[in-house]
């Protein structure tokens, strides 16, 4: 990828992250931390790509570890966030 395009992506994504969090009520900080923890579970995609082209024992082993860890991040992050937000269901009205 062209280096400059990458810098654009990094900077714009940085602003998006800042904007998304800056208006959040304290009540949602934990769920949101948990939710963003889930979002970086996208590392699973990278782990799959790496393992999908791994050759030889060492690469396969480390690639496999990457997939296991990444899947744990994605699935665990989702389950925990979902359970937390589940509790907001019964509450009605907003502040």
């Amino acid at each position: 990828m062209d280096g400059f395009i990458a810098i654009y992506i990094f900077i714009l994504a940085g602003f998006v992250g800042y904007e998304v969090i800056s208006k959040v009520p304290v009540i949602l900080h934990t769920p949101l931390m948990s939710g963003s923890n889930f979002v970086h579970g996208i590392v699973l995609v990278g782990a799959m790509v790496v393992l999908g082209q791994a050759e030889g024992f060492m690469e396969q082993l480390v690639g496999f570890i990457a997939v296991v860890l990444a899947a744990g991040n994605a699935v665990g992050g989702y389950v925990v966030t979902e359970r937390m937000l589940e509790m907001f269901k019964s509450s009605k009205g907003g502040k």
Binding site: V67, V75, V80
Partner: protein, 458 residues
């Protein structure tokens, strides 16, 4: 890259951002996580036809099943009070995955563009630190004996700084040496990076863990973003950096709520302030639950301040039951939540929501602090440092300047507490010795049950 793959990744990135955006409001939060989840499933499925994925399909599926299965089971079964350490654990796994991706790329010894190689190594370092650091944070919150408390020794900061310089130097060496680095160097680099994560986290006390977990969450995001660049994967880049910047901001907000700069948390001097601390005057005065029940039942306004003790005692359901009783008697009940009450910002909100407390009677520090003056009773349950008036009065105190809930301004203060010990920070709480304060000793849940029973008899 295949056009289909590109489109799916783009869709996933958009869904992540929209999902996070919706999580920023209590009304749409649940939809938000579902959207992000759909994005994740789309991205994962399409990766099976990614042009670079052409072998080891079985290993990939087994890996997802093993890692996902374990996480699913533990995530479903863990108690709500233990959520913070689970977030630390899953976050650490993500950091470890990012580091492992970098490791595979470096083990290959294929020629890489200079920037790519630099970011690969940098991402590996951050990811490895997030991994081992999060595991230590998990251990501390889980209450593993050997890890509890702050772990300090002589010259620790210098040794850590030295270790960091060595790791950074090795990383720079690997990043700039083209393909000219040995396997042993690579192994040593990862080992030292992991060791640094451990060393960096050990001296940090449990009370600061929320900030640290949030910081490592941001670290993992950055590492994922950098490895995304290495793998030429825009979905990873966008999602990773969004989390990296969001996590950094969240970390700052938390540190600010505790009035401690982030550097202070990491290179902690907590409890090492010079100068004499103010002497405590007065004594702690106990109260029995029937008296406390009367005090609250005939009050006009009661403000409840929950803290970690409520989480430990699982008292939130009983507290809500008690609140409903008070409301039936016409007492105005409000909950006051300090930004760092519990082990994470919003930890208390989550627990109260679990018990069914509507969030329109839950207030932030800024919203409620003026109201303590008009409150008849402030009921402190399991909170300690966040109501310590010494933060306002004693410049020599380590928590001086931290915004606190002004519980001491209420006409009466009842503190539910298990024993007479000091708070998590080890600082004596002057509130407990105040004239308008009464101590109600006992486990939060037991005490709340007694209060309910006593109120029914009135």
């Amino acid at each position: 890259m295949n056009l289909f793959v590109e489109i799916f990744y783009l869709a996933a990135a958009v869904l992540f951002i929209l999902g996070l955006k919706q999580m920023a409001s209590p009304v749409t939060a649940r939809r938000g996580i579902v959207w992000a989840g759909i994005g994740m499933v789309l991205a994962t499925l399409i990766t099976f036809v990614h042009p670079h994925v052409n072998s080891n399909y079985l290993l990939i599926i087994i890996g997802i099943a093993v890692g996902g299965g374990i996480a699913w089971k533990t995530g479903k079964e863990v108690a709500m009070t233990d959520m913070p350490q689970m977030i630390a654990l899953y976050n650490g796994m993500g950091g470890g995955a990012a580091a492992a991706i970098a490791a595979v790329e470096l083990i290959k010894h294929e020629p890489m563009d200079g920037t790519v190689q630099l970011l690969a190594v940098f991402g590996a370092l951050i990811g490895a630190v997030a991994f081992s650091g999060s595991l230590i944070a998990f251990g501390k919150l889980q209450g593993i004996k050997q890890l509890r408390g702050a772990f300090r020794f002589h010259n620790q900061q210098r040794i850590n700084a030295g270790l960091f310089i060595v790791v950074a130097w090795m990383g720079l060496g690997i990043a700039t040496s083209g393909m000219d680095y040995g396997m042993f160097t690579l192994f040593l680099f990862f080992a030292l990076a992991l060791a640094f994560g451990v060393m960096m986290t050990l001296p940090i006390g449990g009370a600061d863990m929320p900030v640290v977990i949030s910081l490592y969450n941001a670290f993992t995001g950055l590492a994922v973003g950098f490895e995304g660049y290495v793998l030429d994967n825009p979905a990873m880049m966008i999602a990773g950096i969004v989390v990296g910047s969001a996590g950094t901001l969240l970390t700052q907000l938390m540190a600010k709520a505790m009035n401690r700069p982030i550097t202070n948390v990491l290179f902690s001097n907590f409890g090492e302030t010079t100068g004499e601390a103010q002497e405590v005057t007065g004594s702690m005065k106990a109260i029995e639950s029937p008296d406390a029940a009367i005090m609250m039942a005939f009050a006009e306004k009661v403000i409840i301040i929950p803290g970690y003790g409520m989480a430990v005692a699982q008292a939130q359901h009983k507290i809500w039951e008690m609140t409903k009783q008070l409301q039936e008697r016409g007492v105005t009940v409000k909950f006051a939540i300090h930004p760092v009450a519990g082990r994470m910002p919003g930890h208390m909100n989550v627990l109260l929501a679990e018990a069914g407390v509507p969030y329109d009677i839950i207030y932030d520090l800024d919203e409620i602090n003026e109201e303590f003056k008009t409150a008849d009773v402030a009921l402190v349950i399991g909170a300690n440092d966040v109501v310590n008036p010494i933060a306002r009065t004693d410049p020599n105190s380590p928590i001086y300047g931290m915004p606190i809930l002004n519980a001491d301004y209420a006409k009466n203060v009842i503190v539910v507490k298990r024993g007479q010990g000091a708070g998590f920070s080890g600082i004596e709480n002057h509130l407990f010795f105040a004239d308008n304060c009464r101590m109600l000793y006992g486990d939060g849940q037991v005490v709340a049950s007694e209060l309910i029973a006593n109120m029914k008899e009135l």
